[in-house]
Symmetry: C2
Subunit: 456 residues, 2 copies
Amino acid sequence: MGNVLDGLAGIVGDDKVTAKEEDLLRYAVDQAPVTDFQLPLAVVFPESVADVQAVVRSCAAAGIAIVPRGAGTGVSGGAHATRNSIILSLERMDRILAINADDETAVVEPGVVNAVLNEAVAPYGLMYAPDPASFRSSTIGGNVATNAGGLRCAKYGVTRDSVLALDVVLADGSLIHTGHQTFKGVAGYDLTGLLVGSEGTLGIVVGVTVRLKYLPQEVHTIAAFYPDFRSAAAGVLAVGKARVQPAIMELLDGGTLAQLDDLYGSDLRARGRSLLLVQTDGFGAAAEADVVRRVLQAGGATVTTEASAEAERLVELRRHSRGAEVDDEYRVGEDVAVPRSRLVDYVAALESMAAQYQVQLKVVAHAGDGNLHPTFWIERQADAVDPDAMERLQSALDHSITEALAVGGTITGEHGVGQYKLRWLGQEQPEAVRELQRRIKDLFDPSGILNPGKAI
Amino acid sequence: MGNVLDGLAGIVGDDKVTAKEEDLLRYAVDQAPVTDFQLPLAVVFPESVADVQAVVRSCAAAGIAIVPRGAGTGVSGGAHATRNSIILSLERMDRILAINADDETAVVEPGVVNAVLNEAVAPYGLMYAPDPASFRSSTIGGNVATNAGGLRCAKYGVTRDSVLALDVVLADGSLIHTGHQTFKGVAGYDLTGLLVGSEGTLGIVVGVTVRLKYLPQEVHTIAAFYPDFRSAAAGVLAVGKARVQPAIMELLDGGTLAQLDDLYGSDLRARGRSLLLVQTDGFGAAAEADVVRRVLQAGGATVTTEASAEAERLVELRRHSRGAEVDDEYRVGEDVAVPRSRLVDYVAALESMAAQYQVQLKVVAHAGDGNLHPTFWIERQADAVDPDAMERLQSALDHSITEALAVGGTITGEHGVGQYKLRWLGQEQPEAVRELQRRIKDLFDPSGILNPGKAI
Ligand SMILES: Cc1cc2nc3c(=O)[nH]c(=O)nc-3n(C[C@H](O)[C@H](O)[C@H](O)COP(=O)(O)OP(=O)(O)OC[C@H]3O[C@@H](n4cnc5c(N)ncnc54)[C@H](O)[C@@H]3O)c2cc1C
Ligand SMILES: Cc1cc2nc3c(=O)[nH]c(=O)nc-3n(C[C@H](O)[C@H](O)[C@H](O)COP(=O)(O)OP(=O)(O)OC[C@H]3O[C@@H](n4cnc5c(N)ncnc54)[C@H](O)[C@@H]3O)c2cc1C
């Protein structure tokens, strides 16, 4: 271990490597539950593409695994340290290299924080559309590696749809550029798309060219309170049937409302058992909001009567309604997605699972694209773990996954498989598809040093 | 050859195989220039997934190449027969298997024609967004294999953005399902994205699950005539700067207008040297159209004053402004894309190339995403080929490609590399990137029987 450290420090410089225990602990895990805790050998903070290449070459030679890391906000354990690994933190590579306002593109280093890019392009009337609720801390590199979604993705697309080109350091330390600077381009295979969402297992993202969208001038926000969760979920479908495409359509259940009340002193729970937040934007925002209000009211909602500051404040609260607590072995957040028409039934199924297994449940959903984040938890014991409760929690989790797959869903809509969801991947993907992915992994990383044991 | 035919007929049935000379000739090429004419050994018309699997297995065993084909409207030679090949025409697999209106998805066989799918989903207020100008004849399978773009792609995305899942027959005859039925899904690598745009070289697409978008209720169309092409191209940027995202933004030069006049008896050329057609849609269509009109007028355009039937008719004409003639060795259409800010200069460069090499030029562009279709041609000789003219034509083509790449563009925005553009691919992609793609091809198709010599 001393050797590894010395070797790396010799290559990139002392100030870019640490093996202090407190640093190793801090960088050992992301925000996901930990099933196999490992301390990394070192944490390295490259400041340039050349640094990354040198580190990869040296780890390749020494047979040490590399776990790339952005801000560590991941919730699937994709950035958890593995055995005999270093953490490669891209946080210092945080420069915005170019904003091409006329081309409506930007070029950034991987460590640029999502919100920082958005602030930088806003003066041009532009935005970087994918907006995970972690946008104030997560990095573009991490967003790319997980193909992050977010609140406004039903209208504006996920990370994949905003990435035009990538600079990637491969497992042998070589650097490639994929994609194109233009909005469209079909020369050769879509390597960019293959790398997006590959969770650091195929290469290290060291540069990203993104397409920007127009920052809407007008935004209308509607808060719709419902007497129960099912009717709120039905409201999502009703908006779709009216053929209105909102920018944001977020669904919060009673448990989430209660939690927000606790945290922020609001009185949401008194006003309904479920909340549907809808935001329309652009030149048609007002007209779309009118239709949405009409449709939701017809479905039994109490709707804010005009574009209201309060509704906007609720969207802000929603942006924080995950992350108030960190997942651990007592509390696990999921990320299933189901076809939109199954939302209502799936939500009902979740509620009965919680009852059946006697576990707590709260649900928020990017409902516009059928992506649900149920959190199941059990009360923490002051002194000891209740093994029975732990088992019931796991059963609830497994059951919710099986049910999502049974209705045509997926185990992960946007967070990635990471380490934690590997146990369910075989239920979603047959062996032939998994084998194809293993062979792609082998092709990119024959020695298996890039984030081993993750994603596939 | 007799053996091949007998073998295939024995497997799928007589009525699904032909080796009649007229059929072989008809199916030997798509709409691209032909540089290496080959007659296929046979044309096979599978009617089921099982048929496709049986044909692939039998060709794999016999070492015969398979060239998949949709409607043969491709303009890059991707569907040209190659040496020792059969044409696998998917045209009979043309059933729409499901329209899930609430999920906003549809499942189709590959031979479904783009316009047929759109007609089928329109009654639900839905549309399949990617709309290549060939939408009345090209197939969804062909669109997927080429990652086709179209007129409204600047706003609604290209084919890739509308494909959720694929059924694919691999080179060994096995069938895999990739992707998800939900709008979002990040489990494992994005095999769907890798297959989209792979031009039949990685697998045969036998089923496609697409996401549908909302058919806009309101559409406004603006025709803007300009005294020259440069100002029209500048109009595209001006609309962008006003941060309006039209559904359609098509640019036609004087040569194209003259051609349309010849064909349809219109008087476009008398009204300007260039035409910019803009269509806004959705709830904000009227407000957006107002901004567009103001901005274009300020840039020197003569603009239709209200949503006019004439402007709409012009969009219809534009949809046919490629394909009035088929490309051949005297007339070659290109498909470059450049960053939007370079449109004006690139267009000027094209005009001086035409002058320099004494060749004819006309240009249409999906200008919203910087995708240009310049066509260079020389006058056909009644009796013999003029070798000097042919050389000048090739020089103009090469020069236009080099220039597009020099300003950060790509050799193909939407048509694909096929066979014809292979000669330029090395200028766009360095050897390391090409080698990676060759290795992916090897992984999927170790014997190289799927559309050899195409795409990469
Ligand atoms: C409060 C909260 C809200 C969230 N909301 C959302 C949401 O709405 N939508 C959503 O999609 N996610 C959400 N997430 C999850 C998380 O923020 C995203 O997955 C995010 O994209 C991770 O970015 P990061 O920079 O923190 O990456 P990390 O967590 O550091 O890493 C994530 C993965 O990417 C890899 N990686 C990171 N950087 C690179 C790189 N440069 N090259 C190669 N691989 C790399 C890591 O190895 C790991 O596998 C949320 C998380 C929290 C805590
Ligand atoms: C008038 C005209 C206008 C056009 N406008 C546009 C436009 O606006 N945008 C655009 O992108 N293109 C355009 N094109 C080009 C062409 O229409 C598209 O490339 C279209 O996607 C091809 O579809 P097809 O069914 O004709 O496929 P084909 O031409 O038959 O095949 C195209 C490629 O896909 C492969 N392929 C076909 N089906 C399958 C399958 N099921 N599985 C695997 N591989 C398969 C073939 O091997 C070939 O490589 C235009 C062409 C014409 C003639």
